[in-house]
Symmetry: C2
Subunit: 230 residues, 2 copies
């Protein structure tokens, strides 16, 4: 029962750096875009070696809080979305998840976002939705793909929940990074039904017809799941 073992797990040297920097952040001594002390400075301030400092910085960088700029310094950033992506992609790599689960999750996130967006969307937002649909109907394939993304993004934007946005972006990223899936998706996108589906989603959003909008979304994700499955 040694009380000594308060730090049961980790009295690691680089933890000091993590704690130190978190404190700086919490006290608002540095904010986004701000520069943190140089590696050589941290090394002296915390009286640990540069190696240990760098191990900590690598962790923070990979957590998406920090960016190392060669020749300039280490800066606070907000890239936690990328960090989430990398974890999700490891999950798939380790076969702890799969595209079906990812798609299922995306579906439920967007449905939630849709409900909230319906309540919170502005007139300007509704106009944007209309414009997107216009471009989707009249543009070429590339234009349709772009407006597809824009429409989904619009929904999340007006959901007013940054977590939803972050997670969805991260999940989209891992779908995108899988070549074959994207290809199949592109094939599906090039259909009249696909456009009609999105048009319906947009119109329901504009008119506040949540029920039908949700059904359209449901169908949208079932479509994707069919593509992913084989």
């Amino acid at each position: 029962m040694d009380k000594e073992s308060v730090q049961a797990t980790s009295p690691k040297a680089y933890d000091q750096v993590l704690e130190y920097l978190k404190t700086l952040i919490k006290n608002k001594d540095i904010s986004y875009g701000g520069k943190i002390p140089s590696e050589r400075e941290l090394m002296e301030t915390l009286r640990i070696s540069r190696n240990s400092v760098r191990e900590a910085l690598r962790i923070l960088e990979h957590t998406g809080v920090l960016e190392s700029r060669h020749g300039k310094g280490n800066f606070l950033v907000n890239r936690m979305g990328e960090s989430l992506s990398s974890v999700f992609s490891m999950l798939v790599l380790m076969e702890e998840s799969n595209y079906r689960e990812v798609n299922q999750l995306r579906s439920v996130l967007e449905k939630q976002a849709y409900v909230q967006a319906s309540a919170l969307i502005s007139e300007e937002g509704k106009e944007k939705a209309g414009a997107i649909i216009n471009r989707m109907e009249n543009g070429d394939l590339e234009e349709r793909i772009r407006s597809d993304h824009e429409l989904h993004h619009l929904v999340f934007e007006y959901s007013q929940n940054r977590l939803l946005i972050l997670l969805t972006d991260a999940l989209s990223e891992i779908i995108r990074s899988e070549g074959e899936v994207v290809l199949r998706q592109a094939a599906s996108i090039d259909t009249e039904e696909w456009i009609a589906l999105h048009k319906n989603i947009a119109i329901c959003l504009i008119e506040g017809n949540i029920q039908e909008g949700l059904l359209a979304l449901e169908e949208h994700y079932e479509w994707l799941e069919r593509d992913i499955k084989m």
Copy 2:
């Protein structure tokens, strides 16, 4: 079609280690619990310094795929949930999210899990749900808190979506790590209504009454949100 590495951004030394180990994983040369080459080995194999090797290992450790055991070696593990927790907690620290958003997300995740669990739950699962409710009704405060967790866990378990489980655990963790919130929650938990709510959730799960079960869940999370808000 291997494009000639378009490493637009990073020809970092430690990336070699990341790539190397990912390959080992992909090829199933190592699996959970397995030991990866020692730092000194990696150093020679990839012909980089030990420092660089360690920077890579710190990243992987913090991503939740690797664990360093002093005196033993580095082993593959599955702790990506903790990694997600740490990202979420940084999000809150950086004020890029807040408890309202976290709770909202938890709510939608559990509702989705509930729908799927309703369809997939076994007879054994239903019995478990019944037993949990029994303990919740008859146990002391501590017992009620435990069965509370068990019930929610049961729902996610039968959802058969590991992503949902992982995310929810990560989100719960950051709620838990905030002292004041937990306290208020504990206060709420100690009421008849709280028990009745959970009983309802369990019964609807057993009887396959999805609609009412979802309503109970909705109420459950509204309850939590009230606690969190002030």
